[in-house]
Symmetry: C2
Subunit: 349 residues, 2 copies
């Protein structure tokens, strides 16, 4: 029985929200405690990061909190992101551009047409080998709702891929069997991230439970099964991106308009180990957490780490809260007992 | 343009939760203000009402608060509800027995088998012409989840109907196109209630919004459409039952385990008028709210009322809260503007 797993190198988390200000100070230190040394940082601050200098300034603020983490940075797709900005961003070492459906302002019901204004931007990204990160959902309305919003987006994914076959695209936090199949059907430039929490959750888990509510929402048991199978398939098209999304507890404990997002950063590697263990696939853990994402992104300059991650099969209780007061954040599975624990082991120097 | 509707008589609400104690005192007076003179009272108190004397005592407590309302009373189906209890209940004027899936303790996964122990009870109810009120959901587990839980229950409905064809059965608060079809497919002893809130809500409305979270959950846009069509079809098989379910706001504004239930009592007739108006079917309102339910139940002794209900097309804002402090209850569409208003008009004596 495997009860100790030493990862080949620390986890690469290809979808991370660490916010700004006090929340950033609370959350950034938990990147390492979750077993992660490489964090792909989302640009959806308030206001969003739509110019190179803002992204670089944000990176400096992150470095000031924990300089040992490798931060890969992104821009927020908006009309400001011209081909010239892409050129400058590539030169400045920015890795990707994140596209949210909220940024879609025309013909947003069907999604596809709305992306046309960005074709010159996508062409520039393809030329500079930058990555396009898609939040793959169509906005709700008419026949589109939170449960089919991802599936409705898949023709858009395929269309962009067909138009820009060399553009590397990541379908972020995919949640449905249909999305898994679509990513498989695309060529090798298209991959997908899978979160920790979507390996556990289905619709019943967020019905009446705002802590488990996120976008895209967790779907049916068959979808969860498809995610587990993809994550443990040893296909390099599927790799880890936690989409860990901290929200002050007050923004979760609202009757109306609870914030969408599940916070997993503190225990990411343990959650994933737990899920893989439940289906007897711990041998597939290292590829999913540490290798496939780095391969897809072809990460050029990663900071050397003087620590390794050891996962131990050992019961430990997820704390009720990270932080204190109204800005405290409830971690995923707060108060529950995990069977796996992340240990950070400093290497002899 | 119709902008004033005088109902033939006050609304009959065939699914009402008014709780007990302080909450009962807060909510019972709102039965009339919502336009209702006949309330079919649910037995799921804590502990549930499983004997005739408890039901009668509860009725007395309701009468003490507002003696002008006709309260039709129910028992909570449990092993205590023997054929003898049914005999006594019928004699005491109790109208029905409510069956919750939570009461199903064996083979609950598929529901059907679990009802067999109650066949003698159902036979006695059929003999005494009591009504069986079914919360039509299978418990979640394996392939059953909150979105198909009602559909999975429908074979059970049909099975009970086939075994007890003269037993009057109401499929409560039905939420799906499949349930509407199943009720149509059954004989005239099977009917269904439809709530006010399910005429408005779909899954997107309760995703991240605990105030709109109830069981059965609101489903897809096509399901809402089927409910609207059934409610406005002038079929006497479909009539109003609000399932108005007050919860202290603190039990709604929880990150984990928000109470299920939508509180509509204060404005029930206005909500329904609004929904019917949106589809141009105000001419069908009176049958749905006032006639079909009374016909199905064949209500024997209703208290005379010296007031009528007039619905006026007039903008009015739903208050943020009913009551004060931690036990205050948020009404459905709190803070939103309705286009219809309930007016209670005292008749000249």
């Amino acid at each position: 029985m495997t009860d100790t797993i030493t990862l080949s190198r620390p986890v690469a988390d290809f979808h991370v929200h660490v916010r700004d200000g006090d929340m950033m100070k609370l959350v950034v230190p938990t990147i390492k405690s979750g077993g992660v040394s490489l964090a792909y940082i989302m640009p959806n601050l308030v206001p969003p990061l739509t110019c190179v200098s803002d992204v670089l300034a944000y990176k400096s603020r992150l470095e000031a909190i924990d300089p040992t983490i490798t931060y890969l940075m992104t821009l927020y797709l908006s009309p400001a992101i011209t081909p010239q900005v892409i050129h400058d961003a590539a030169k400045a070492g920015i890795t990707g551009v994140k596209c949210y459906p909220a940024g879609v302002t025309t013909n947003s019901e069907h999604g596809v047409a709305s992306y046309a204004p960005y074709y010159p931007t996508f062409a520039a990204m393809e030329q500079h080998d930058m990555v396009l990160n898609l939040h793959g959902e169509c906005p709700s309305g008419n026949h589109v709702h939170v449960l089919n919003a991802e599936q409705e987006f898949l023709p858009t994914l395929k269309d962009i891929h067909t138009r820009f076959p060399k553009l590397r695209i990541v379908l972020e936090h995919c949640t449905s069997a249909a999305a898994i199949q679509a990513v498989k059907d695309c060529g090798p430039t298209v991959a997908a991230t899978i979160t920790a929490h979507h390996l556990f959750l289905t619709i019943d888990n967020w019905a009446g439970n705002a802590f488990n509510y996120c976008k895209p929402v967790a779907k049916f048991p068959t979808d969860r099964q498809a995610l587990l199978e993809a994550a443990t398939s040893a296909s390099a098209k599927f790799f880890f991106g936690s989409d860990s999304a901290p929200h002050p507890i007050a923004n979760k404990e609202k009757g109306n308009g609870a914030a969408a997002g599940v916070f997993t950063q503190t225990h990411v590697a343990a959650y994933v180990a737990e899920a893989f263990d439940q289906v007897g696939k711990l041998d597939r853990l290292n590829g999913f957490l540490c290798e496939f994402g780095r391969q897809f992104y072809n990460v050029p300059q990663e900071k050397p780490t003087n620590w390794t991650v050891v996962l131990k099969k050992q019961q430990n209780v997820v704390p009720a809260l990270l932080g204190q007061g109204p800005c405290a954040v409830a971690p995923f599975k707060a108060g529950e007992t995990l069977n796996w624990k992340v240990e950070i082991v400093d290497m002899a120097t």
